[in-house]
Subunit: 211 residues, 2 copies
DNA sequence: TAGATTGTTAATCGATTAACAATC
DNA sequence: TAGATTGTTAATCGATTAACAATC
């Protein structure tokens, strides 16, 4: 598969959202869906949906649109790893623990298998079924549990130091919820999410609309 | 100010991030900063930084770069409302409460002034200094506290109904953490954030890098 | 001065959308 | 059939970057 070119980042995001919505369709017994139906759910154009689906090489039928289950499976083939990928939440504060409960049971190929903290009140506790370990056991557990992805929710003051450690330990992807600017080597994928930025963006456009 | 054209969405996001980093600079006593320094923190190009700053009409000096405090103040003028904007967290579950603590004291012009839930164990409690009200009091409190923005963290099954209610009550901006597809009228700004999508994006690129 | 930096236009790149042939 | 839909190319749009003059 080394020959397949990576999909555009935006397409990957939308595929994830298509799947989320398709899963609800299955739950409500819908077996086929048109591009304009998917588009309406995501507030995008039907052309964009068809183009994304074209990029992953799937075809619908003219009368019935896309087979919901087939499309879900194909998106799974694209996004998921065959044997799943294990995830750790590093930093078991309020946000880290909320994320653990939020993810619980949501995706079978993407499992949170451990949390890490230094606070003795958290270490060795279990949050929503996820064991919390001391930072000291980072290497050990990452290797043992075959963890490749980390959700980073430590305090910003710790973030740089912890990230360096994670990268040395062989982590290949980081979803960063801290506000600290991080640097990772080229082979590590870093995705940033800053709630304040999202909220400030809302605030800016609300202010703009008022005028 | 009705004549000023809205900045590109991406520029607004970056301005928020520039400010966050500039605030750390102030804290560490740095008074001036070059475009390439800001760029390095955000992993973008110095040209992009200069262009964004050009768009907001600020000028640096050739020898010293940009005055950190002046730039912070100007970004504040752009993003913040003069008298601040009040925010409510609707849904005081794990995620909602984590967000409340996360925001505590972070921005003076963007205050979380209330939370809402139906669970009797949460109603009338105070989380990180924020009072939790029953959903029944939505209109009353939104009006009384002059709330224009909502962070939505209710269960997905409730999201559509609650959103309709919020829009009717006059909310002008929603930051949606639920997985439900929402529809709002044109004058309401809706920003979506889906953690699973972010994590699946990381998972996809980690998988790709491995091959 | 030479080198480093800003400000800004023009070119490029990437992502979205318009247009339309094919088909059921 | 007529109308609705898919698949796909070409055009457009928007965002980023290259290039470079100005300046300290």
């Amino acid at each position: 598969m080394k020959n397949t070119i990576a999909l555009p980042s935006k397409t990957v995001e939308r595929l994830s959202q298509y799947r989320r919505n398709l899963l609800s369709c299955v739950a409500s017994g819908k077996t086929h869906i048109f591009s304009h139906e998917i588009a309406a759910l995501l507030h995008i154009t039907p052309v964009q949906v068809r183009r994304d689906i074209m990029l992953i090489g799937y075809s619908g039928t003219l009368r019935k649109g896309y087979d919901v289950q087939e499309l879900i499976d194909l998106i799974g083939d694209i996004i998921d790893s065959e044997n799943g990928q294990n995830v750790a939440v590093v930093g078991a504060g309020n946000l880290g623990r909320a994320i653990i409960s939020y993810f619980k049971g949501k995706r079978s190929k993407l499992l949170i298998v451990g949390a890490f903290d230094t606070n003795p009140e958290k270490v060795d506790k279990v949050f929503a079924g996820v064991q919390c370990y001391h930072f000291d056991k980072l290497e050990e557990i990452i290797e043992k549990e075959n963890i490749s992805i980390v959700i980073l929710t430590v305090p910003p003051t710790e973030a740089v130091k912890v990230t360096e450690h994670l990268v040395n330990t062989g982590i290949k992807g980081i979803l960063n919820f801290t506000t600290a600017p991080l640097n990772v080597s080229e082979d590590v994928f870093l995705e940033e999410y800053d709630m304040i930025t999202s909220l400030e963006k809302v605030a800016y456009f609300v202010k703009k609309n008022e005028k």
